[in-house]
Symmetry: C2
């Protein structure tokens, strides 16, 4: 009567704990979430939670890591399959931007930034499993395109940093601070198209 085993199973309530933690952390932030809230949401006893995770911080770290990895995994697949440079960049931008602007993306960002002082390894984990992967994917794509003669870029690393930044233009900070409603698709497209136009105007091989 063995159900197919979950990978890395440390106990039967592992997933329940993570899911409850995700819910509460995303709703209330790190400080705002109490462990009692989490165990309640998870439907699990406090002792069980503490048998999996030595403390609240590491529990959060796990939640954030899982969240970021899921996202940037999904991103990798999509950039590859596109014909034109412009199309590929637009596709990448869309996915990236949608995550930046999503409730979960914003909340992870808020918490990580807020806590990175007290817990430096949280910042590191987040960076590695999110922004660093985006940078890497983009860098490789640009490099290939330069070698193929489609783009003309001097400083590829800089360009790979500029593009995601352009995708945030105006919207991201305002959302982060809770100063506006989620953008409509039109607003996102305006920013993305602007980003791609600006980017390609300089880096597209003209001759």
């Amino acid at each position: 009567m063995n159900a197919p085993q979950a990978v890395g199973k440390q106990g039967r309530k592992w997933d329940q704990v993570l899911e409850g933690a995700r819910t509460v952390f995303m709703r209330d932030g790190f400080e705002g979430a109490s462990v009692d809230d989490i165990v309640r949401a998870a439907g699990v006893s406090k002792a069980t939670l503490y048998s999996y995770f030595p403390d609240k911080r590491l529990l959060f770290l796990e939640v954030a890591k899982v969240e970021c990895q899921a996202q940037s995994d999904a991103a990798v697949a999509q950039v590859e399959g596109s014909d034109s440079i412009r199309g590929a960049l637009t596709t990448a931008a869309k996915r990236m931007t949608r995550f930046f602007m999503s409730d979960v993306g914003l909340q992870v960002h808020r918490i990580i930034v807020g806590e990175s002082q007290r817990f430096p390894e949280i910042g590191r984990e987040f960076y590695e499993s999110g922004p660093a992967r985006v940078h890497e994917i983009l860098r490789m794509f640009l490099k290939k395109s330069v070698e193929a003669g489609h783009l003309d870029i001097d400083d590829i690393d800089l360009a790979a940093d500029q593009f995601p930044e352009l995708c945030k233009a105006g919207l991201h900070l305002k959302l982060l601070l809770g100063l506006r409603e989620p953008p409509t698709d039109e607003e996102i497209d305006r920013v993305i198209d602007g980003a791609v136009d600006l980017f390609l105007c300089k880096y597209e091989r003209r001759r």
Copy 2:
């Protein structure tokens, strides 16, 4: 019968309180700073602090506001007095970027982002006295330059959002998360020059 408003110089220790609060908040963040630490740093009694500020949150709000305003005031002056467009943008970028990357700028950003959920007005105040002013200055500068025929920009608001974003490329997030040392002047120049080049490549009137 008005209760003494939170903000209003009403005693000789006002500045001392603010200075102590600035020190401790910048060092420890909002949650990390205890009011007892602050009064100790300020050389003031707790009762005095609470006679000026009804609570910790409003004290922090005041500190952040003062900090941002000082910065963006300084910025306004400099953009005006520059001959070329490129020169003006470079100057603006330098000042902006230096603040983004400074310890104080980063710490204000961290705290505000971290707390904006729980205290929405903190986010608003910060945005108005910092990013919004930068946007406004830049927008007016671009508008004038377009009217003078030096630039050719379709969506001025978007462009005014793109430029500051470009100035962060790569460095800002890493610093925010404590993942690297403060950048050297060369590194900052690389990012700034890259930003100005990219920006002007598209928006400079070519004909």
